[in-house]
Symmetry: C2
Subunit: 123 residues, 2 copies
DNA sequence: TTTGTTGTCAACCCCTTGGTTGAATACCCT
DNA sequence: AGGGTATTCAACCAAGGGGTTGACAACAAA
């Protein structure tokens, strides 16, 4: 899994890591800070942070012994771009389909009854 | 990893699965159709489809021997909602930080030397 | 220089994942 | 019924992920 997009998606596939990201939107945190709420070892959280860092979602600077973790929210754009691209494409497909069906009806088979259509409904 | 959000992110963490999703935005496909471009076995692709189905990203209906795969684009919203929520929160944080720093300077400690501040810079 | 704090590295374990192959299912066609 | 097509199920394997514990590194404070 070499590409960044895969790494970002994989990083956010873990609830603990998503929670970490969520908390980092409020303020920067040290590793100890971040680890406190979870009942896993500090090392486990350290690993989670490494995953987030490799995905480009966070950066860590040095500040005495501490390693403040900082969220890089721009990486979110990578995902939203991908998602929105195909989301839009999927939506266009439906409109295109509608158009094709409509044309088929009044162009090719003008006698067919018009099919009713719902729009933008979510699951 | 029980929650759907995790399953969706995990499903899209694989390039092959993302490619499948991308192709499904154009039109529905059979499993054979979908498997053709990849040099893995049909069974492997079938597994990928199971992952996508469990995540709620696709549905499969029956049509003779074929199992046409259909994209359920609404699930994308689940991700975009999560992403946008924290993206916005992260952005608000920066504005809030600016405001707090400004107040600290002329309200709480009027004698402190004003710290220079950069604004809205990315990365 | 010792002690304490903060964090990472290394080795290990177990479970999941993505791949394989071979058999089974479901359906169409004759 | 029997053969062909489309797809899944089952068993297996190698690799990776998330967890653990123990040792180490970097720095502050004494």
């Amino acid at each position: 899994m070499t590409d960044q997009l895969s790494r970002v998606f994989a990083a956010l596939a873990d609830p603990t890591r998503r929670d970490i990201v969520a908390r980092l939107t409020e303020t920067d945190h040290t590793v100890n800070d971040l680890a406190a709420p979870y009942d896993v070892s500090l090392q486990a959280v350290s690993k989670h942070l490494k995953v987030l860092e490799d995905a480009g979602l966070v950066t860590r600077t040095r500040e005495a012994q501490r390693r403040p973790v900082h969220l890089e929210a721009e990486v979110f754009d990578l995902m939203t771009k991908w998602i929105e691209r195909y989301r839009r494409q999927a939506e266009e497909r439906f409109s295109r389909l509608d158009a094709v069906l409509a044309r088929m009806q009044d162009d090719d088979k003008p006698h067919t009854s018009p099919t009713t259509q719902q729009e933008g409904t979510a699951s």
